[in-house]
Each structure stands twice: as C-alpha cells, then as structure tokens.
Amino acid sequence: MRIETEPLLSIRNLRTIFDLDEGSVKAVDGVSFDVFPQRVLGIVGESGCGKSVTIKSILRLIEPPGKISEGEIWFHLENQKEGRSNRLDLAQLDSKGKKMRSIRGNEIALIPQEPMAAFSPVHTIGNQLIESVQLHQSLSKDQAFNIAVERLNEVGIPNPLEAMNRYSWELSGGLRQRAMIGMALTCNPSLLIADEPTTAIDVTTQAQVLNLIRDIQQKNQMAIIFITHDLGIIAQLADDVIVMYLGQVMEKGPVDEIFHNPLHPYSKALLKSIPGIKTKNRSKLPTIEGSIPHPFNRPKGCPFYQRCDDAIPGTCNQVPPNLFPVTEKQHVSCFKYHEKTDAL
C-alpha cells in the first residue's frame, strides 16, 4: 500500500503553447499529475503527445516562440540548513534566473535521449563532471574531482580514473549513456528525469542501463520520471504510469492497473496493438485506425475522438473530458466513465 506522502512534484493544469507562423500549437494542453518521492513515474505516448515538451516545461527549458501559458509546477524543496521544506512554483520563476538554475542540475537532473549530443565534444568527461559539481557546490577542484570519479564508479564505468580524461566520442554508446547518468547524479538530485534514454542503444546495452537505473534509484532514493514509447520498459521500471495523447493525459494510475485493467480506449487499443514477446506468431494485430491528427487541426472535444471505437457523437466531439477518478487508483479522461457535466 502506498503511504500517503506529499508529492515531490505536482503539475497542475499545465499548458505550453508554441506561436508559429502557421498558427498556435498547443503542445501541452492541460496536464496534471504528481510525482512522489522515491517512486518511478512512467510517461508513455507516441509522437506529438507532448511528453518531451512537458519535461522541458518542468525544467523551464522552453524558448520562444514557445511559452508556458498556464498552470503550476509545484516542486518540493528540502532546505537542509533550516531543517524545513517548502514548495516552489517553478512556472513562476525566471527561467534564466538564479533560483531556477540552482534547481536545474542540482535538485532536478536530466538524462537526455542522445548522450552523444549532450556531451561537449571538445571537453573531457572529467571536465564536464567537475563543472557540474562546482556549479552547485562550493568545493575545490580536487574535491570535485573525487566526487566525479566516485560517480563514474557508481555507474559501472571501468577504470573511472582513466575515463575522466576521455572524450565522449571515445566511449561506446552504452558507456556514454552511463557517463551521462553519472553526470546527472553529481549533485544528488531528488528527481531524475530520463527522456527516452535507451532509444538510441542496443537491446543488450539497454538492459544494462535499465538495470543501472533501477539500482541507483534504490540506492539514492530518487524519484524518477521516465519517458518512453516502449511499453516493456514501463512495465519493468515504473511504479505509476500516465498515458498521454496529443498534449493531454488520457489515463493515469499504478503500473499494474494500467497494464492489466486499462480503462481508456486509447490505452486499451495501444496495449493490444503492440506485438509483445508473447503475442501469437503471424496473427493479425488489432490496430488503431487512422493516424495522429496534426496539432494545427486539433479536433473539437476529446483529442482521440476520431479514432475511438467507443466514441459517443454529440458528447465526445463537443467538449474535452477531464481526468476523473474511476477506480480507487485510476484516473481516466473519458466520457464513458463520467458525465459531460463532470468535466466542467
């Protein structure tokens, strides 16, 4: 049973829009969810669902023509010195200001999708890790060096002392990703965000990296937000899951419920349409008809209406539904489970 604790991160009604020449794109359109300490939240969805833009909004990395137009991002900060904690709305902070910068990389760390692109090719790994430490803690270069070596060791890089002098392109894909994880951990963040960290690497290397993430999560007692389109990874790693589609949350709940009792038509269809290691060989997969609508052409009402087998014309295409608790643990955004009036 889950102990009722304060969430570490609370997103309420987040909306991020991009003002392009061709029109306004609502990349994130009213997203709310919680991340609890020491638990893994998996965000699953296809292209255009807004998962990457959501985490960029959390980290306040959205640049014009994009901006957060509405919503709150409550983050729980432990103040060691004063022995108390307080909540901060990250959406209100200046994205380039000192406060946000002291949170980014320090309290909240990011593992990006392409480790090759995330490391500077002209600085050694060691340099970059030391820089990361010294940015947030007032330590001497030697002290920072030692911390960096320790981190590389923790993430399983052989010969960490030697690795400090290597450049990112000298390492293999798996080692690079480990080094990236090491860099994210330098300041002991309370929240780690992983943006599809295994999409670019081999299956056997992916298994190593996922194992590593599981281990360090236990050891460092971090909360993790894990973004991926791979349902297998979600099943193996996540405690809680949110399913996103076209900028909105369709369903959220504990991982077991989502996989064994999906309620939203999209979640159901998605799970059925993926060939798993156990699906019958050469059988026809049930598919979701059509394709993801263009965000400039958002349909009125529920974003999934056009492809939904259970759609109710007159209701589903008029107003968008809201996340509503349906079972004890699951919230679903669908008019099958609640009245139109509840959405208001």
């Binding site: 298994a207 791979d230 297998g232 099943a235 077991d256 998605l270 349409s273 290691i277 394709s291």
Partner: protein, 350 residues
C-alpha cells in the same frame, strides 16, 4: 513446408523447387583507408561468412544488434553492394538458378523486377521532389511500361492495395505521415510484381500504434501476392510476430537460426538467450532481476578471436577463444554455431 533436405550442401547447382534463395559463405569486407593516398590498413568484416536459405512464401527474420551485419546482408542480396565473396543463388521466375553475387550490373538490372526493398526511414526513401504517381510509377517506367495511362491505372490499383486512396497520387511525400509514407514505399516495391521482398527495419521508425497497421498490411500482402520476405530488424517482438524462421546475427556471423517458436522457447546459443532475456516484458507482474550481458558489442573492424561472442559469454572456455565454432544442425532447421551447445542449459521465454 520445408522438405526433408536437412543438410545444406557445400555448393549446389540444385535447390529444392520451392527454395527461392540460398546464400553460401557470404562475406562483405569494407577496406579501412588512411593517409593521403588512401592506403588500405585493415578491413571491416561486416559480413563474415554466413549461410541461410529462403523458401517461397515464407518470412525469414534477420535479427541482431548494431554492427552485426544484417543491413549489409540485405543490401548484398539485392546487389546494392557487391559481395566480397560467396554465392547468392536465386531462383528466377523461369525456374532457373543464378548467382546474384557474380552477375554483371547489366544482367542484374533484369533481375530487379524480381526482388525489391522496403527501407527503414520513410522520410528518406521517397524523393521529396516527385509526386506519388511518379514515385510509384518510376520502376514501371524504367522497365518498359511507357504508356502513361496504363501506369496511372496501375498506380491507382497499387495505392488501393496498400490502403490509400488513389487520389493521393497527385500529392507529394511531405503531405503524408510516416505510416502512410511507408505504405507508399510498399506500393512502390510491389509495382514490379517481385517475388522476394527485403524489408530493412520497415517499422522501426514508425509510431508504435502505426507499426501494427504496417505489419498487418505486410502479412495480408504476403498471403494474397505469395511474397517471400527477408525481414531485417532489431526489435525481437516485431520479428517474432512476422517471421516463420529467424536467424540471429552477431558481429558478422549467424550464431543461431531456427523456426520462430523453437528459437524463442528453446534457444541453443548463449547470445540468443541473452538477447531474449534483455527484452523488457510488457507485464509488470513479471519482473525478473535482469542479469544483463556484460560488456559492449564489439566493432566489426576488430572482432574477438575465435568465437566472436566469447568475451561476453558466461559459458566460454579456452577453446572458444581460439577456435571459431562451426554451424551445426541440432534439430530439423535449427542450426547453432557454438562449441558447447550440447552441455549448456538455456532458458527461453515461457
């Protein structure tokens, strides 16, 4: 179903009538050149001596991680690359055999109508400057169908066959989503009525919910048009779904090949078992403590001596580091290349 022809002969000018492709000792080496005058200092042994076969109407999955040589193999079969060594016996539509590896480019052009390719990246495999009519019609045009009206009709039929509206032929690739572009690529591949289709990661670049649509389409087309597929992929679940048999490649070699269910339930090669256990299962109730394989995939430019897999293999012995294992038949159509397959117990998926 396959005949009783269990042993693969060393060189054959005769294949069972339903055998459409037989690859023998295929090698493709790329030279590594350095210096001002580009001296050859080494070889990347992308494909290092592989054997496999394909029977008419079946799907062979070719699976492996980066650097294993599966894409190079696919390209050699179609002669987009010239093999360094080996034979690729292909049965032509008149029943006779020909060795694709040794053909001249001119002769190869005549064979192109029999074998086609589906590519991985739907955004890169369609010329953005041509409209769909021209794209799908081009293979027919360069192979003799000059009559524009006939071509247009055929293109309309092909579009309908892949589930797109014929009016779309006026449009350009940028108007379509990834899944639709892949259908267009399939339509183009079918325009010459090929018998063999080599699919190089055809669904890897697509959204998850679209993958199912394209896989279904490929299965339907295979049935109705009696196609034979060589399906190259890195995603085991996808390969399992569509293949009759699967060959697992590692650093240029085939380490195991078997009918799909046998491979998944009773793998005989440690690499296959490791690969199977590395795939995360989409069921939170089955959370195994994954003991993943150590180390990294070696580069084909400097593969380990002996059995390429031995540095990472939990069952490796001294012999493995010195001697390359030979491919042996364990059961009908189940081949494995390992010194110790008889002694070790491996688990597949339940």
């Amino acid at each position: 179903m396959p005949s009783e022809n269990l042993k693969m002969p060393a060189s054959s000018a005769w294949l069972a009538p339903e055998r459409i492709l037989e690859v023998q000792s295929l090698r493709k080496y790329f030279p590594i050149r350095k210096g001002f005058i580009k001296k050859t200092v080494g070889q990347v042994k992308s494909v290092d001596g592989i054997n496999f076969h394909l029977d008419a109407g079946e799907t062979l999955g070719l699976v492996g991680e980066s650097g294993c040589g599966k894409t190079t193999t696919a390209r050699c079969i179609l002669r987009a690359l010239k093999p360094s060594e080996g034979k690729i016996q292909f049965r032509k539509s008149d029943g006779s055999l020909t060795d694709v590896a040794s053909l001249e480019e001119k002769e190869m052009r005549l064979l192109r109508t029999d074998m086609q390719m589906i590519f991985q990246d739907p955004f890169a495999s369609l010329n953005p400057r041509m409209n769909i009519l021209d794209l799908i019609g081009e293979p027919m045009l360069v192979n003799g169908l000059k009559n524009r009206k006939e071509r247009t009709e055929k293109v309309a039929d092909l579009l309908k066959m892949v589930g797109l509206r014929p009016e779309y032929m006026q449009r350009f690739p940028h108007a379509f989503s990834g899944g639709q572009r892949q259908r267009i690529v399939i339509a183009r591949a079918l325009s010459l009525n090929p018998r063999l289709i080599v699919a190089d990661e055809p669904v890897s670049a697509l959204d998850v919910s679209v993958q199912a649509q394209v896989l279904n389409l490929m299965l339907e087309l295979q049935e109705s048009l009696k196609l034979t597929y060589l399906f190259v992929a890195h995603d085991l679940s996808v390969v399992k779904h569509i293949s009759d048999r699967i060959a697992v490649m590692y650093v240029g070699k085939i380490v195991e090949s078997a009918p799909t269910n046998s491979l998944f339930n009773e793998p005989k090669h440690p690499y296959t078992a490791a690969l199977l256990s590395a795939v995360p299962v989409a069921d939170p109730r089955i959370r195994s403590k994954m003991t993943p394989l150590e180390g990294d995939v070696p580069s084909p430019a400097s593969p380990p001596q002996g059995c390429h897999f031995h540095p990472r293999c939990p069952h490796a012995s001294e012999r493995c580091s010195m001697e390359e294992p030979k491919m042996e038949e364990v059961e009908p159509l189940h081949y494995v290349s390992c010194h110790h397959y008889q002694e070790i117990q491996l688990s597949g998926i339940e």
